[in-house]
Amino acid sequence: MSRRRISLRQELPLLVWLVFVWAALWQDFSPGNLLFGALIAVVVARLFYLPPVELGGRFSVVRAVPFAIVFLGKVVAASFQVLYLAVARGPKVSNAVVAVQLRSHSDLMVTATGHVISLIPGSLVVEVDRSTSTLYIHGLNVRNGEDVMSLRKEVRDTEAGLIRIMGTKEELAELKQEVAS
């Protein structure tokens, strides 16, 4: 094989997820079924080999739980906001496409930020520039420069939150420096 093998540790989150999906679909979490699921997960991961996801090597549960709760809250807020705008503003709504430069250059970070930002109020990823890790975001109800600034801040804050959860040590150190200065 010409492709670089990734360590089991890096593959583990994928395998755990596959086993979970398997057991959930069978609706059977008995040890036998889990073992068989694990077997299938390993075979699938070996046969259908995907480019490895480069994890940051750390995951902070303490940061992840509040982030998830805030995220759910924002999903609820986003839905009501869109509902309100649809009914109240409708055709008169004004939008903007804003470029936001992210700190991190890792694919996982850019993808995760793009996903989260697409689900929280008023923003949608239109285009990604991977080489400079810039997200082009379509903002709903962006009326002036101030709204553009707050949208940009929102995206950068989301990325900061994700770096605190699962960014690499270097990214975290850079973030700390930026916050301190």
Binding site: V82, G90, A96, G114, L124, V126, G145
Partner: protein, 135 residues
């Protein structure tokens, strides 16, 4: 059946009823948004957001009503897949829509992508000219 159990039942029924009504309202909101918003991009907002919450609430109501723990993992997986796929599809549609000019530029207060797309298009045209020139 003792009265305590039926008391819990009432609470669960009420909660799932509220979830279902609000979830349906969210789907209605998505439909209203699709009709009322002026261009493709803002319609994508309506198509992605309220619908994710609506599905969450309806799945939660299903989970509460079935009262068996083993449906929760299935519902969880269903919702997670929704969370993972909705931004991707919205991104692909939005990207295609932007480049095929399915948007009302007069409704945009700022557009920081236009110049970038224009530059890429110019470069591609120049490359095409170069390629076809000598032949």
């Amino acid at each position: 059946m003792n009265p305590e159990v039926s008391g819990v039942d009432t609470v669960i029924d009420t909660v799932s009823a509220v979830f279902m009504v609000v979830g349906a309202l969210m789907s209605l909101g998505a439909a209203v948004g699709l009709l009322r918003f002026p261009d493709l991009m803002s319609r994508m907002h309506a198509a992605t957001k309220p619908q994710v919450l609506g599905l969450f609430l309806l799945l939660a109501a299903v989970g509460l009503q079935l009262r068996t723990w083993w449906v929760w993992p299935v519902l969880f997986v269903a919702w997670i897949f929704q969370l993972l796929t909705v931004p991707v599809s919205a991104h692909m549609v939005g990207r295609a829509g932007y480049r095929t000019k399915h948007l009302h530029r007069e409704l945009l207060t700022t557009d920081e992508l236009e110049a970038v797309v224009q530059k890429a298009a110019d470069k591609r045209d120049a490359d095409d000219d170069e390629a076809s020139g000598p032949a």
